[in-house]
Every structure is written in structure tokens, then in C-alpha cells.
């Protein structure tokens, strides 16, 4: 039924993927050394500030992936768009990974900065909640005897869970948190401008990595679906 769309998708993916992969590698090649070696140390934090170049992009990607997942789920539920669901499903593990990376680097950073790896602070907890939501999405999708049922249930959960995104975003403003407030705000940029190029390189690298992996995973799903359809046709 939806084969044309999937076909278009496969074609597009085949074009985009190598470019994205190449760019991603370039970003990492330039970004990592600059971030970890050549960028200036912070006047307060010293070299530990370099964790930021992993932590912040990971945090943003954690949020971004959930956004994609929620949008994909919505269009799957509303327009029954199978590719949208595949994108949502493919984003979940990547998002969970970035979220975990953010949590881990945050804990590593917290040890020297706050004297403790973990506090039950709103920003930290809502991020942990995001991680659980990812887990819940994946677990729920797998928990049904019929795959469609799981897909739909998980899609509903993704939508309902998206209320968590603003909570994460604004948690530092709503509660007096240990955590840094946003770098970018109405008032302008609050870090040394020398830190921005490596930060953006890393953000770009992570983003491109996401694009590459999502395309790979969706392609795999499309092909699996094709194979299954073919098997059923042959069996019939």
C-alpha cells in the first residue's frame, strides 16, 4: 500500500547517507581535538570544562531525538504513516543512548563541580525521567503479541511523554537548581565565545551521527517489512 513512499524514502536515504556520514566524520575529526585539546580551559573549572563538549550536545540530542520520536508517533497515529513510525522507532535507542551519555558525563562533571555525582535536582531527575520514557517506549513496543498493537501503544506513550520536554528545558528556571542555566537566553550568550566553535562542531557531529544511524535503522526496518511481506506472499 505504502510502498511508493517507502521506495522514495529508500532512494533519498541512499543519497543522503554517505554525505552525512562523511560530514559526520569530518566534524568529529576537527571537533574532538579542538574540544579536548586546543580550546581554552575555563577560568574557574579548568580542564574539566571540556566535558561540556560532550555533555551539552548529548543533552540537546537527547531532547531532539524525543522530539522526533513524538512527531513521528503523531503522524503515525494520525495519518497511519508507516515510515513516520519507523523513524520514531529508530530514534528511540539513539535518543536513549544520548540521554545516557548526558547523564553519565553530567555525573562525571558533577563529581568535581558539586562534590557529588548525583543530586535529586529537577533538571537531573527530569532527564532521568526522559531516559525512563525512552525505555518505556521501547519496552511497550515490544510487549505485545501483535507488533502493530505495540507500535500504536508506544506511539501514544511517546505523545503523552512529550510533556516532559518543556519540563526539562525549563527546570532550571522553575526550581533553584544546582545546574547551569541555559547558555543561550534572551540576554545573549553566557560563555566565552572561544568555546563556541568546538561546541558547534560537536553538536554538528552528533546531529549527523543521528541522521546516519536513523537512516540505517529505518532502511533495515523497511527491508525487513519487505522480506516479511515476500515470505507471506510465497507462503500464500
Amino acid at each position: 500500500m505504502h510502498l511508493p513512499i517507502q521506495h522514495v524514502f529508500l532512494k533519498l536515504a541512499a543519497i543522503i547517507q554517505p554525505w552525512a556520514a562523511g560530514l559526520c566524520i569530518l566534524c568529529f575529526l576537527f571537533g574532538l581535538p579542538i574540544a579536548l585539546l586546543f580550546s581554552p580551559p575555563d577560568y574557574q573549572q579548568g580542564d574539566t570544562v571540556r566535558i561540556m563538549y560532550i555533555h551539552v550536545p548529548a543533552a540537546w540530542m537527547g531532547l531532539f531525538c524525543y522530539g522526533v520520536m513524538a512527531a513521528g508517533s503523531a503522524s503515525y497515529l494520525i495519518w497511519r504513516h508507516p515510515v513516520a513510525n519507523m523513524v520514531a522507532k529508530a530514534s528511540a535507542p539513539i535518543g536513549a543512548m544520548f540521554t545516557a551519555l548526558c547523564l553519565l558525563t553530567g555525573m562525571l562533571w558533577g563529581e568535581p563541580m558539586w562534590g557529588t555525582p548525583w543530586v535529586w535536582d529537577a533538571r537531573l531527575t527530569s532527564m532521568l525521567v526522559l531516559f525512563f520514557l525512552y525505555l518505556g517506549y521501547m519496552a511497550l513496543g515490544d510487549a505485545f503479541d501483535s507488533p502493530e498493537q505495540g507500535d500504536k501503544a508506544a506511539a501514544i506513550l511517546a505523545l503523552v511523554g512529550s510533556v516532559n520536554l518543556p519540563i526539562i528545558k525549563f527546570s532550571v528556571d522553575w526550581w533553584n537548581s544546582l545546574h547551569q542555566p541555559s547558555i543561550f537566553s534572551m540576554a545573549g550568550v553566557s560563555v566565552d565565545t572561544a568555546m563556541l566553535p568546538p561546541l558547534f562542531l560537536m553538536v554538528g557531529a552528533f546531529q549527523l551521527y543521528y541522521v546516519v544511524v536513523v537512516l540505517m535503522r529505518v532502511r533495515a526496518q523497511v527491508l525487513t517489512a519487505k522480506i516479511r511481506a515476500a515470505r507471506l506472499m510465497r507462503a500464500a
Partner: protein, 221 residues
């Protein structure tokens, strides 16, 4: 609307008459209030400090555990099929069940809160903010929980899925709920926190019955 009251009435009757876990809630609170001073020891400073937290956590657990049966009892004996094929719209069925659930879990807790507060040695001035916070917050628990219960209805390993799905969404309510009580207790104005709780309730009321009804239709397949 009439249909709605018929459905609420039935669920209430069942939870009074039945061997239902919903009635357990009053017992559950009593237990908590008996057990915690035992477990924590009678030192007044400590108990008082954690009172609001204990109340809210209890509310969350009670809600979570009783929700497990919100739809599954009716599913087991076939009544859910009949309800979904009846003249009542699925959203109305879900909304009625949510209200009935709140009336048998959230409301008793809210009403008992002052008593529980005294037993947990909280200052009597905290009674009003406590009741207000619970009154606004507990319906949201029922609403969100119903979505979780419906989503996991046909699922395998449901026992572990329910908390995984529902709790992340409960945590904000817990934070604001406790915050509202404690802030008032410290003599500050907690209007903003109550407003946020109210906002959650409005959002949940607007979304959850539909989400749960949609999930229920999926589960019944």
C-alpha cells in the same frame, strides 16, 4: 452525561462491594501512617520534615497499584467488551472510570490528609496547603495512570511496564506537590506552585481521557 453517572455509580458500587483493590486505599494510607513512624522512629524533627513527602509518595503508590486493575478486571470477565459495544462512547467510559478511581483513592487521601498529618507530627498549619495540593494533584495522578493502565492492558510483563510508563509522568506532580506544602510550611507564598499543579490537571484532563480511550481500543484488538 447521564451515561457518565451510571458508569461512575457502577464502579463506585463495585469498589465498595467488591474485593477490589481500590478499597484498599484507605487501608493503605492507614498502614503507611502506622508503618512509617515505626520504621523511622518517633523523633519529632525527622518525621515532621518528611511528612509531606511520605503523604505524596503514598498517594503515588496507592494510585499506581490500584490502577493496575482499572481496566483489567473488566477485561477479564468480558465486561470491557460489553462496555465498548454499549451506547456509551469509549471516552465517556474511560472518564467515568477515572472519576470513580479518584473518588476511591485520591479523595479519601485528601480528606484523611489532616489526620495523617497529625500522626506524622506535621504542624496543623500545614493541613490547608496539604489538602489543597492533594485535591489538585491527585486527580492528575488518576488521569495519567489511566493512560498507563490502558496502554499496558494487553501487554506482556505488565507489572513492570506500568511503573515504567506511568512514574516518569508522576514525578513532576510529586515535586510540585511536596514543594507547595513545604513552601507554605516555611511561610512563603506557594501560589505559583499551586498554579502549576492546576495547569498539570487541566492539561491531563484535556488529553488523558482521549489517550486512554485510544489505547483501550488498541488493547481490545
Amino acid at each position: 452525561m447521564n451515561t457518565f453517572f451510571i458508569l461512575v455509580g457502577r464502579d463506585l458500587r463495585l469498589s465498595v462491594r467488591h474485593r477490589a483493590d481500590t478499597v484498599m486505599v484507605a487501608g493503605f494510607f492507614a498502614i503507611t501512617v502506622i508503618l512509617f513512624p515505626f520504621g523511622i522512629g518517633p523523633e519529632p524533627g525527622v518525621l515532621e520534615r518528611v511528612g509531606a513527602g511520605i503523604l505524596w509518595v503514598t498517594a503515588l503508590l496507592a494510585s499506581l497499584l490500584s490502577l493496575d486493575h482499572l481496566f483489567s478486571d473488566d477485561e477479564q470477565d468480558g465486561a470491557l467488551d460489553l462496555l465498548l459495544t454499549s451506547p456509551a462512547a469509549p471516552t465517556v467510559v474511560v472518564a467515568a472510570k477515572i472519576i470513580a478511581h479518584w473518588l476511591t483513592t485520591g479523595l479519601p487521601l485528601t480528606l484523611l490528609a489532616p489526620v495523617l498529618g497529625i500522626t506524622l507530627q506535621m504542624p496543623s498549619s500545614s493541613a490547608a496547603p496539604m489538602m489543597t495540593a492533594l485535591l489538585i494533584g491527585t486527580p492528575t495522578l488518576s488521569l495519567i495512570g489511566a493512560v498507563g493502565a490502558a496502554l499496558t492492558l494487553g501487554a506482556r510483563r505488565r507489572g513492570i511496564l506500568m511503573p515504567l510508563v506511568v512514574l516518569p509522568l508522576y514525578i513532576p506532580i510529586l515535586i510540585f506537590g511536596v514543594g507547595a506544602i513545604d513552601t507554605t510550611g516555611m511561610g512563603f507564598d506557594a501560589g505559583g506552585l499551586f498554579a502549576v499543579l492546576g495547569g498539570f490537571l487541566l492539561i491531563a484532563a484535556a488529553l488523558c481521557p482521549w489517550a486512554a480511550a485510544a489505547a483501550l481500543k488498541i488493547a481490545s484488538e
